[in-house]
């Protein structure tokens, strides 16, 4: 926002309140109420407003207080955000960033625990990225703001408390690239967002048991970085996908087909995909735990894959 006066923020409680997860804390005091706009509770309309502003020269960062609320903005995100560059014959660009916290939290109930990446992935013209560490959050956010394409940036409700030492200076990460988290030889584990931490926890156990998993945080949910993923598969010949989306129609489902299409000859075993259960996330802690993939399941899956 410092370097480009056309970058602005809009969303519910982003201004005076500093954002429901304090992502925009202090910005309204520094940049004023118009650049950090507190909107009324009208997701469809303020998302559309952000899109109209982007078409006329601004670079809005639109926040969904919880990503789930953006279901109300589906009309604007699908029809206008994704499609208008094409429908207008390339005349109007829509350099918006749509971001917000999503994913399964701690007993937040079904509606506040949604994973919208699976609903948005078919929309043409949209890019989707998921950040998972403070380092990649900063780099991906900068890249998303600078991109001329509309980008949906998925944050996770449980990852805001992570602490990490990151560079003060500017750096921009590539929106289309995946991140190598832990190189290995035996199996490729593809994951993103919070599940990265479950995978790394499982990896510790796996290493103790003598396995050598390669962990890749795919980061770019749409489009997939088939180069990084492919190189890994060519090395290990075994793939496990660990995601928080539901089994049906999730990111894992798409990733699986993309891998089969492109790397079938390199596979020594069927692709395994661990996803959340096709269940509205229950409130009770025990039930919630069973809907989401846990490290122990990941360990079992790898053992099975590597038999």
């Amino acid at each position: 926002m410092d370097s480009n006066p056309r970058v602005c923020v809009m969303g519910e409680d982003v201004g005076h309140y500093g954002g429901s997860y304090k992502v925009t804390k202090g910005l309204a005091t520094k940049f004023g109420d118009l650049r950090v706009l507190d909107t009324p509770i009208a997701e469809n309309s303020f998302t559309g407003m952000g899109i109209g502003a982007a078409m006329t020269g601004l670079r809005p960062v639109i926040e969904g207080m919880n990503m789930g609320f953006l279901l109300l903005a589906f009309n604007q995100i699908s029809n206008n955000c994704g499609m208008l560059h094409y429908t207008s014959g390339g005349q109007f660009t829509i350099p918006v960033v749509i971001r917000g916290p999503g994913g399964v939290g701690r007993q937040l109930g079904a509606e506040h625990s949604q994973r919208l990446e699976s609903y948005f992935q078919s929309i043409p013209g949209l890019q989707m990225v998921a950040c998972s560490t403070p380092y990649n959050a900063k780099g991906l956010m900068k890249a998303a703001i600078r991109s001329e394409n509309p980008v949906v940036l998925f944050e996770h409700v449980l990852l805001y408390n992570l602490k990490e030492r990151i560079p003060d200076e500017e750096y921009v990460l590539c929106l289309e690239e995946a991140e190598m988290v832990r190189p290995g030889e035996h199996v490729t584990i593809l994951t993103y967002s919070r599940m990265r931490y479950h995978v790394m926890q499982a990896a510790k156990t796996l290493v103790n048991k003598g396995y050598d998993p390669e962990v890749i945080d795919i980061r770019s949910l749409k489009p997939f970085d088939l180069h990084t993923i492919g190189n890994s598969i060519k090395k290990t010949h075994r793939v496990l996908i660990v995601e928080e989306c539901m089994r049906t129609g999730g990111i894992g489902a798409s990733l699986r087909s993309a891998i089969i299409d492109n790397f079938w000859d390199y596979l020594d075993a069927p692709i395994m995909c661990l996803s959340s259960q096709d269940v509205p996330t229950p409130y009770a802690g025990t039930l919630e735990e069973w809907t989401v993939v846990q490290p122990a399941q990941i360990v079992t899956a790898v053992e099975q894959l590597c038999k």
Partner: protein, 432 residues
């Protein structure tokens, strides 16, 4: 007997800011009769505050928001006619262009040159011409699927619109948009939307940009956005959400309702608990005005006020134009539900015929000049058809362009190169 009969008698009125004195060239007579086909009459404006806006039969009422003060205007009949000769010629030409173009669209559709859903604007020309001819190049227009004439009024060349309708590469959207998605960056026409209501937030965003440029970027920007939409849209959530935001932030926008009483086959009265749409402005804090949308001069007077308000930073206005579409909802609509008596009541108030009579009677323009304009427009539209016909359809290579502004968005392929670098990409045959 519709609820509108009381409103039809209400002539248009200017929405005055508290301080300006207007020497408005309006007649002093306050008319209470339903406008006949051939008279264009204007009348005095009386504004009452919201608390008194009860409609009594025969008593004209307008609602303005409580904080907009109006004066009763004493009008003298001497400052008449209300437009200059140049303006008369411009208005006439624009309306004839709209009508001729739409009639040609119907012909072309039935001859198999145009496909899909085509929604024609016949009968509503006064609204498009009345508003858009007042705008500058920098002002934006946002429309719906009934957008051909809005595009033409805003200055998009007829040949570009026709080529778009034929699906040719020379169309204003390279053939990728079609009838319902007319866009022009050069003329600030921001759509063309197929779903009703989804353009209103985009218009609100364009108005927000204008305010942002003035207040944050400190540019001398007073661009106004005019959003057109229909009566059906006024029952949609996006309409109300945007009325709220526009009034809250005093955005430079005018919301123009083209109330043609029908949403495909759904009569406005059957769909709406309170059919008087202009009343829905004041609850949100903006003036609500009703105007006879078959009368281009009345629309123009209201438009001047509303656009002026927005340009001065005084905020949005809701203008309800009572108008009518002479054809069906689209070229696929058999139009069986509308009463022929209702249709003829409106066709007798054809805006083009009415303007013609007015300018001839007031000696602004000779009939021969109007005929010359008719011929000129006929030729223009014929030329547009020829251009569109002879234009090439989009080549295969156009398929994948424009999906992303930055084609890196198609991602990195297995070979490590960006998909858009694949030679197949520019041929439109790449696997993405």
């Amino acid at each position: 007997m519709s609820a509108f009969s009381a409103l039809k008698t209400i002539p248009s009125h200017p929405i005055a800011g508290g301080h300006r004195r207007r020497s408005s060239p309006f007649l002093s007579s306050l008319t209470n009769t339903a406008p006949t086909g051939h008279q264009l009459h204007s009348s005095a404006a009386i504004s009452v505050s919201l608390s008194h806006s009860v409609i009594a039969p025969g008593r004209p009422v307008r609602a303005v928001s409580a904080n907009v003060v109006s004066e009763e205007k004493q009008l003298d009949g001497s400052a008449f006619p209300v437009i200059s000769r140049e303006e008369a010629l411009d208005l006439y030409e624009d309306m004839v262009l709209g009508r001729t173009f739409e009639d040609m669209c119907a012909q072309m559709y039935y001859r198999g040159k145009m496909f899909g859903f085509v929604h024609l604007y016949n009968g509503q020309e006064a609204v498009s011409t009345g508003f858009i001819r007042l705008l500058t190049d920098g002002d934006s227009v946002v429309s719906t699927y009934r957008d051909h004439v809005h595009a033409l009024s805003k200055g998009v060349p007829a040949r570009a619109v026709m080529a778009e309708l034929f699906g040719k590469a020379t169309g204003c959207c390279r053939g990728q948009g079609g009838s319902m998605h007319m866009f022009s960056r050069e003329h600030n026409l921001i759509g063309g939307f197929a779903f009703i209501g989804e353009g209103i937030p985009v218009a609100t965003g364009a108005a927000f940009s204008s305010k942002y440029r003035r207040e944050v970027l400190k540019e001398a920007c007073d661009d106004v956005t005019v959003a057109f939409f229909g009566d059906g849209t006024c029952n949609n959530g996006q309409f109300f959400e945007c009325l709220n935001m526009a009034a809250l932030w005093k955005l430079p926008i005018v919301f123009v309702v083209e109330n043609n009483l029908w949403a495909i086959g759904m009569s406005h009265i059957r769909a709406t608990s309170d059919p008087e749409i202009w009343k829905k402005g004041p609850p949100f804090g903006m003036p609500g005005v009703h105007v006879d949308g078959m009368d281009v001069l009345k629309v123009r007077e209201v438009a001047k006020e509303a656009v002026g308000r927005a340009r001065r930073g005084e905020g949005p206005t809701l203008v309800e134009c009572e108008t009518y579409r002479f054809r069906g909802h689209s070229l696929a609509d058999p139009d069986e539900l509308r009463n022929p008596a209702e249709k003829s009541r409106y066709t007798s108030r054809d805006p083009i015929t009415a303007l013609k009579k007015y300018v001839i009677e007031h000696g602004l323009v000779a009939e021969s000049e109007l005929k010359a304009i008719d011929k000129k427009i006929d030729d223009l539209v014929e030329e547009a058809v020829e251009f569109a016909d002879s234009s090439p359809p989009p080549p295969r290579s156009q398929l994948l362009e424009n999906v992303f502004a930055d084609p890196k968005g198609f991602g990195i392929g297995p070979d490590g190169k960006y998909r858009c670098e694949d030679p197949g990409f520019t041929q439109g045959t790449a696997q993405v």
